[in-house]
């Protein structure tokens, strides 16, 4: 296993624990982790056979996937065409509608100016969600309740879309007032079949970015689950999907109907909760599929057991969620039955302002949701990180809130806890 790293990350565990590590550039991502040239040079220099893109940076970059394949290497991910088809939210929406996967009322073509946005919003009906068609990570998404808010939000979203995603293309969608964010894990197998491995509920979010995830979703019943899983398989089949991918949906809490949101054509940050209830190592399946081999389990025999929760431990203050870089002076991970910690840092490491604030993923499994919650409360209390501020105190509060404990929450839960 060969890691690539920037100057900012030289001391981190993923570098020190890898068999071999190659420095690919300075801290700014554009000159290191987003440099296809530097990564391909590192692959050539070390004789690497395959590239796993992880879940950030170039993981959903079709041009990079093509370059990897053209360089004669194995790309551990879906085809560049599948990435491209799902990468643009407008074309993905249109494709899903074609194959019978429900989508929210919205625009079928990019909205080019403010006048058109007003006309489209009138057709769709307020409130509307304004989104960057090439976007991700919740960046630039704005809800508009009326025409005035739409005009302001349209300009903000367009400028962010250009800055972060290099495309000013905008779409509008009907905004569901009370929704759960539920996603389905799929695997496209080497023989062409697409299977679904259950759902994950990611409704606990701040700034449209996930803070906590769980499976199964407390808000999804048997019939809805069957329809969502079948829809996700159809979505994968529509693009000839291969490898691990995630079909993200919104579930309207009033109607218990779901709509397609977007597809993430890569491994998801929160994949451990699926692994905990299925016993399947998803990264192992990615490697097998990329190699053209059979997966390690029988899809017909998968029986998820128990309940799993994941908390994202961020270097940010637990009240306003503002970034808090700094040197980690103490790092004591919890351990115990059903507890798993996927950590990117340890004591002595420096958390820099250059990248995402994710320090670690704390995962707890139990025979049922109550047991998973109890184990997670203990694990959060035992996790000690000193140096940067972290959101551990927020997580303790979330786990103890009546709303989260009941399971009957929606994407507004974090905002309500902070009112």
């Amino acid at each position: 296993m060969i890691a690539v790293y920037s100057e900012a990350d030289a001391e981190l565990p993923f570098v020190t624990e890898s068999d071999e590590a190659v420095l690919i550039g300075p801290a700014p991502a554009a000159k290191s982790y987003l440099s296809a040239e530097a990564i391909l040079a590192a692959a050539a220099e070390t004789g690497a056979q395959a590239i796993h893109p992880g879940y950030g940076f170039l993981a959903e970059n079709a041009a990079f996937a093509r370059q990897v394949i053209d360089a004669g290497l194995t790309w551990i991910g879906p085809s560049p065409d599948a990435i491209q088809q799902m990468g643009d939210k407008i074309s993905a929406r249109n494709l899903m509608a074609q194959v019978g996967v429900p989508v929210a009322l919205g625009t079928a073509e990019p909205v080019s100016d403010a006048d058109e946005a007003i006309a489209e919003a009138k057709r769709i009906g307020y409130p509307v969600m304004i989104k960057a068609a090439a976007g991700g990570g919740g960046i630039g998404m704005t809800v508009a309740a009326d025409a005035e808010a739409l005009l302001a939000g349209f300009e903000t979203t367009r400028s962010r879309a250009e800055r972060f995603f290099g495309s000013p293309s905008i779409l509008l969608e009907s905004y569901i007032t009370s929704a759960r964010h539920v996603e389905v894990q799929i695997l496209g197998l080497a023989d062409g079949r697409v299977i679904a491995l259950g759902e994950r509920d990611c409704s606990a979010q701040r700034r449209h970015q996930k803070l906590a995830e769980e499976t199964p979703s407390p808000g999804v019943g048997g019939d809805l689950r069957q329809r969502m899983l079948a829809g996700a398989v159809r979505a994968g089949e529509a693009v000839g999907y291969r490898g691990a991918g995630t079909v993200e949906c919104l579930v309207d809490t009033q109607t218990s109907e779901f709509v397609f949101l977007e597809m993430n054509t890569r491994l998801q940050v929160e994949h451990p909760v699926t692994e905990m209830v299925t016993g399947i190592d998803l990264v192992e399946q990615q490697l097998l599929i990329a190699d053209g081999a059979d997966i390690s389990f029988d899809p017909a025999a998968v029986r998820p057991h128990g309940h799993a929760l994941e908390l994202r431990i961020y270097a940010e203050d637990p009240v306003r969620f503002l970034p808090s870089p700094g040197t980690i002076t103490q790092w004591d991970e919890p351990a115990g039955q059903g507890v798993r910690v996927d950590a990117g840092y340890t004591a002595g490491n420096v958390v820099t302002p250059h990248y995402d604030p994710l320090l670690a993923k704390l995962v707890a499994h139990g025979a049922d949701r109550d047991e998973a919650l109890a184990r997670m409360r203990t694990a959060v209390a035992e996790f000690v990180i000193a140096g940067p501020k972290t959101n551990l105190a927020f997580h303790a509060e979330l786990l103890n809130s009546d709303e989260f404990a009941s399971g009957m929450y929606d994407t507004g839960i974090v905002a309500r806890l902070r009112q």
């Binding site: 960046i139 503002l322 302002p353």
Partner: protein, 70 residues
């Protein structure tokens, strides 16, 4: 003479106000970027920007002076 200082390590993405500008309480002075997040730095009082201590692209540390408003 209120001084506006950085709350965290960050990159200066945009300098919105210039020296000599009149600003009101709550106006954006500069926009910082840290951990993929834009953080607007706001004026905490009305007045004139007598000093803008940062430029776009600067890396600033916690406690560094950003601007002075008189």
């Amino acid at each position: 003479m209120p001084e506006i200082r950085a709350e965290m390590v960050a990159n200066v993405w945009k300098v919105v106000a210039a020296e000599g500008d009149t600003v009101a309480d709550g106006d954006t002075l500069v926009i910082l970027e840290s951990m993929k997040m834009e953080i607007p730095v706001l004026a905490e009082s009305s007045g004139t920007v007598s000093r803008m201590a940062v430029a776009e692209g600067d890396v600033i540390q916690e406690g560094d002076l950003i601007a002075v408003i008189e």
